[in-house]
Assembly symmetry: C2
Amino acid sequence: MSSADPRPRRRADAERSITRIVAAARDCLSRDPDATVDDIAKAAGVGRMTVYGHFRTRPELVEAALVEALRAGERMLGGVDLTGDARQAMSRLLASSWALVAESAALLTAAQRVLPEGRLRELHTGAADRVEQLIRRGQAVRAFRSDLPVTWLVNAVQYILHGAAEEIRRGRLDPADASRVVTATVQSMLTSSSGA
Amino acid sequence: MSSADPRPRRRADAERSITRIVAAARDCLSRDPDATVDDIAKAAGVGRMTVYGHFRTRPELVEAALVEALRAGERMLGGVDLTGDARQAMSRLLASSWALVAESAALLTAAQRVLPEGRLRELHTGAADRVEQLIRRGQAVRAFRSDLPVTWLVNAVQYILHGAAEEIRRGRLDPADASRVVTATVQSMLTSSSGA
DNA sequence: GATAACTAGTACGCCAGTGTACGAGTTAGC
DNA sequence: GCTAACTCGTACACTGGCGTACTAGTTATC
């Protein structure tokens, strides 16, 4: 279920245009979650029919774009050092995650709309697991609170990240300040305000 | 711009069906943000045409539903005591707000999709202002952090509330626990985790 | 009880976006 | 350089929801 393509043999040019289409999809959907298949085709410099030649339906294309974005994210997040002080590790993780989320917030929205319930989460487990593990580790050392469900904390972090992206989009948050704001918010969220 | 109806004279039965339609709209949209005009009409026990007799377009109907929901919210929130200890006041405010948000989360989403950018915010200022004022007061007394923009804090609270509603909808958060979780999360968010 | 307001059904035009069909041109790969 | 794969345009069917038109029946309200 990794990179085993359903169609074993494909011509090089096909491969190339698929790449371009997926890239375009990522790009368009990251700006407008309702981007049309036609929009994406145009952005890829390709006919709409070509798109349908490789992706049966729009949802399928959205999923491909998402998977690609997640893969890129994994690559980036994989390099983050999660050892050592839990809070500092969280800061590092957030610093890296933030850019990714900010960039792909709309894409996430798109996926949420067309993918079957739960599918997104399924694809997204990698990132979520990373956060969850770190939180658990932090809890064990009393660096993070334990009075709230871990699931909630993990998702709350997501909501904050997503929210910050939204705020920027609406011009209510200074992009230059965002990373700091997000980190500060999350850190305190993970700390009980009235004792551990 | 308050309750000055554009049409001065209306028959009693018309008034009644408008009420029923708006109520139905609130109800339907609170469950499915994509609810159709027809769905709403059916739920109101009324023909689709009757709906169009009172609301020119779907967005107009959505707005009416939203306004009604907000009015109900105002009524409830107006009774909350915001004096005294800022943190306790915030807890009280959250306890009341929570139920409202949980109930109308989907309606908010619907509004966000069809209303022109910013319109929602415009209608929603009442609630936002209340939170903002309270936060400012809390900051003045060093009860709340001052290292982050107030605007952000206010909106972050919204995102958390909205997120919690989503989590419940997906069965990932126990509704009975939600109020406590939300309150705890927000309270710590409003407190700097490394000194005021 | 006359009148205007309201309800409501059916039928329609419209629109945008999806996905299909066909067919002609182009290009990679052996 | 032959063949199969690929590209891509035009055209079209389909869908679902919106909003309009017309018409007939009902019901407040004076």
